[in-house]
């Protein structure tokens, strides 16, 4: 199974919102729909998509797309 790109997961999760998933600095709070609930659910979707598990601290500290990408890279996943 090919794993989806992180930008595709973002697009699906925030369906109906106009944004650039590759914009630098993108992260929680970037627009109204991206609140703390939506962010938590995003991390759960990423866990499922890449079969990884984030710690409690990861769930509270990973706020930006860049931080998420780095956390995935540290587990050997290019997203």
């Amino acid at each position: 199974m090919t794993k989806p790109r992180l930008s595709e997961i973002l697009r699906d999760h925030f369906e109906g919102v106009e944004f650039d998933p590759d914009a630098p600095g993108l992260g929680a709070g970037a627009f109204e729909a991206w609140d703390s609930f939506a962010h938590f659910n995003l991390l759960l979707l990423i866990e499922e998509a890449y079969a990884v598990r984030f710690s409690v601290d990861d769930m509270t500290n990973l706020k930006s797309v860049a931080e998420i990408r780095a956390a995935l890279a540290s587990q050997g996943i290019a997203a």
Binding site: F37, A38, F40, N41, L44, L45, E48, S55, V56, M59
Partner: protein, 532 residues
């Protein structure tokens, strides 16, 4: 449905697990932990789902919770309140070696309190998650990480399971369970093909796969006892199936357990439609179980209203699949449900017996037909209104009188109104007919309503009702009876009713007859036949 959800801890609103439920209902999760406020809010008139995890309750909180639930139930008697709850974690099971585990005692206390309220409030529905959680396992259902990161105890898989169970419950609140299950025979009720393997060769009972088929039949029998009708649609020689039903020692189900049968080589959608007609049921009440994927696909394509479950590939999984199928689950099994099954069986027995009788009138004379006129009053008006609402086929004018209308009509002087109770050797059929005749000028009256439940057609009960009504009209000086047939698309069987009974067409499209010349020969079939 507009749905308000609240919980004793977080619900991961917006999680993937809620997608299925959100596709069917409008979900509002409110604020975290707002259950006490929502339950006691007098203006929260939406259906309410309250998720209670007993692990969340601190000391004394259970009493507070039940008091809040009482407030909700008293304020909203007709809006559904769904309490979906799970036991607390028991800790080491060794703690239960000598005394009941404290968590289990707490669960029993809470459950008892819930069902006491369910007995009092019909809007309360209870969904215990413990069994559901046991199916997938607590490790799957809960995620402690989510609790410490977001105060939500469930995993995404847990939310998925919870949402599925809530969806099932809500569907059953709105859609009644299936009333008729139509079954195949070969490789469904028994293993093998009776036409090839013979009575000794089919696999049923004893060990292995034969025991699974027999357990499947036991499950079917339990369903039948809860009020689901069973029928057979199979491609076999009728004699082969009859042999199995009458003679095979392993059969749990016998001929009397089936309300009706179609054993022939015709296509199954046609047979199942005929079975539903014979039993007077709509296709949306029917389910179909067949081991053959081709037959299932054909049924789904031809009759999408019929429920065709995805039958497991291995028969060993069938007894459980049937027992767990929500399509047949019902909130209550009343004495009426059981009586209903017997009434339908009586109807099917009548149809089957009369098919074999060349001398139809001789047959009808032999079955002890007995009709009684029953007045419309407080104890019978609900049934009269139900007959007005539901009878489509044998209904001359299809006027949907309400219970209040019917009581008012009964009070009016000059009206002749009665329900009709029927019994015969196939059973007591209950109140199955209604006639209302109202004055229409000097010496004349008019048929307002004449209807019969389709369960009892073919017995000329309409003749008895008409004759009995005329007997009651004559002392009032009524000489002439008028009537009109109002076609609806479903009551075509009434098109020739009036001319057949001696009514003459008038210029305005209605009909008229002298009471003397109205023709009701079938009335003579009844023990209590009035002298007309």
């Amino acid at each position: 449905m507009e749905l308000r959800l609240t919980a004793t801890s977080g619900l991961l609103a917006g999680s993937r697990g809620w997608r299925g439920l959100a596709a069917a209902h409008n979900l509002d999760f409110g604020e975290y932990g707002d259950w006490a406020r929502v339950l006691t809010a007098p203006d929260e008139a939406r259906a309410l789902v309250w998720v209670v995890l007993l692990d969340d309750f601190g000391p004394g909180e259970e009493e507070v919770a039940l008091a809040a639930l009482d407030a909700r139930l008293r304020q909203h008697l007709t809006v559904p309140t769904l309490v979906t709850w799970a036991s607390a974690d028991p800790g080491s099971v060794l703690n239960g070696a000598r005394h009941a585990l404290p968590s289990r005692a707490a669960s029993q206390r809470f459950e008892t309190a819930l069902y006491q309220r369910a007995a009092q409030y019909s809007a309360l529905h209870i969904l215990c998650l413990d069994e559901l959680i046991a199916e997938s396992g607590k490790r799957q259902f809960f995620d402690a990480r989510n609790y410490y990161a977001a105060r939500a105890r469930l995993s995404v898989a847990g939310i998925d399971g919870l949402a599925w169970a809530i969806g099932q419950m809500l569907e059953r609140i709105v859609v009644p369970p299936r009333k008729l299950l139509v079954l195949d025979c070969d490789n469904t009720l028994w293993g093998g093909v009776i036409g090839e393997d013979g009575l000794e060769g089919v696999r049923l009972g004893q060990d292995g796969i034969g025991a699974a088929f027999q357990d499947f039949q036991r499950r079917l029998k339990i369903l039948a006892q809860s009020g689901v009708l069973l029928a057979i649609s199979s491609k076999n020689n009728p004699d082969d199936v009859a042999q199995m039903l009458d003679r095979h020692p392993g059969m749990v189900l016998r001929r009397a357990d089936f309300a009706a049968m179609r054993v022939n080589w015709a296509d199954k959608p046609g047979n199942v439609t005929a079975l539903a007609d014979e039993l007077g049921l709509g296709l949306e009440s029917v389910a179909f179980w067949d081991d053959n994927p081709f037959e299932r696909a054909e049924m789904r394509a031809a009759l999408p209203q019929i429920y065709v479950p995805d039958v497991p590939g291995d028969v060993v999984d069938w007894p459980k699949a049937l027992a767990h199928d929500a399509a047949f689950a019902r909130f209550e099994v009343t004495a009426e449900d059981r009586a209903k099954a017997a009434q339908y069986q009586a109807r099917a027995a009548f149809v089957a017996a009369s098919d074999g009788q060349l001398d139809r009138l001789g047959f009808l004379r032999s079955i002890g037909l007995n009709a009684q006129a029953v007045p419309i009053d407080a104890s019978t008006v609900a049934r009269a209104a139900q007959l007005c609402a539901k009878t489509n086929q044998f209904n001359l004018r299809t006027i949907r009188h309400s219970a209040a209308d019917l009581l008012a009509i009964t009070e009016e002087p000059g009206n002749v109104t009665f329900l009709t109770a029927l019994s015969d050797r196939f059973g007591d059929h209950g109140l199955v007919g209604l006639i209302i005749i109202r004055p229409a000028g000097k010496g004349a009256a008019e048929i307002d309503t004449l209807l019969l439940s389709c369960r009892v057609l073919g017995r000329y009960l309409e003749d008895w009702m008409l004759a009995e009504a005329i007997r009651r009209l004559q002392p009032q000086g009524v000489r002439c009876l008028r009537a009109a047939y109002v076609p609806t698309g479903k009551n075509g069987m009434m098109a020739s009713f009036l001319p057949d009974h001696g009514f003459q067409a008038r210029a305005n499209g209605s009909f008229e007859a002298d009471c003397e010349s109205i023709y009701c020969p079938g009335a003579a079939l009844y023990d209590q036949a009035p002298p007309v």
